[in-house]
Symmetry: C2
Subunit: 144 residues, 2 copies
Amino acid sequence: MTTTAVELLEVVWGRASTAPTSASQLRVLHVLEHHDGINLRTLAESLASTPPSTSRLCDRLQAAGFIERAASPEDRREVRLHLSGRGRAFLADLRSRREAELRKVLADMPAAKRIALLEGLEAFCATAAAQIPDDAPESGSRTA
Amino acid sequence: MTTTAVELLEVVWGRASTAPTSASQLRVLHVLEHHDGINLRTLAESLASTPPSTSRLCDRLQAAGFIERAASPEDRREVRLHLSGRGRAFLADLRSRREAELRKVLADMPAAKRIALLEGLEAFCATAAAQIPDDAPESGSRTA
DNA sequence: TATTGTTATACTCTATAACTATA
DNA sequence: TATAGTTATAGAGTATAACAATA
């Protein structure tokens, strides 16, 4: 059941992705959105990836104009990574399109079922998050 | 909310993946499980991929002993693809480990919330599936 | 000497184009 | 000629190992 739900959600979201950007690149944008000025090493850790792979990912994102690299004023070995205006706009747009697609489904559901779903999902998230060791819950109360 | 739920589910499932097999390779195994003896071209279509990519995917899966290629008796151009015993066992094992991880979360949820979640998910799937043009719903009544 | 980031190299996955074998 | 599958080639994503610059 849950499997089916996730697979369907992927299809629903797929309808919203005009994105030439890959899933890996998207994850970088997401991290940068919440941790502006993060250095490459920390970004690699956040992605559970390695510095070389992450460096190459950033090469492509920079070439595409979504992110910017800046030298750190404190430690000249470090690189500070920033989301560009274009990158930020791209993220916002993608997110709004995804939520629109999701709302399309939610709107067609009987109200009682919709309420049950959200209530169940909240409990699921709370329980799952509690089982995952020290994963700072990405606090924020999105509605969709 | 839904976004958070899906991301958490991925973490939960990640705990169950001892798999050296990639997501692409897994999709091949899933298709073969339900369409034994499918030919390469049809498999590529099912994956929304191309014959060359799919051929290479099969090369690696065959080398790993998960699938088998057999010449079609009817048309000697065609290749019949089959899941090997090992491939079938691998899938069953992965699935049971994933469901176990999922049950771990469900078991910790208050009963009322669990019921609300399943009820909501069923309605969500029904609604989403109805919105997707001619996607034969993978009938089957899994519990988790 | 330790740390930050990069380059070198290799493997998987993806795609398009060219090729082989069969129909 | 049309179709099934493969090989050729190229780009993205991933990893480890070797390297440069800085601390």
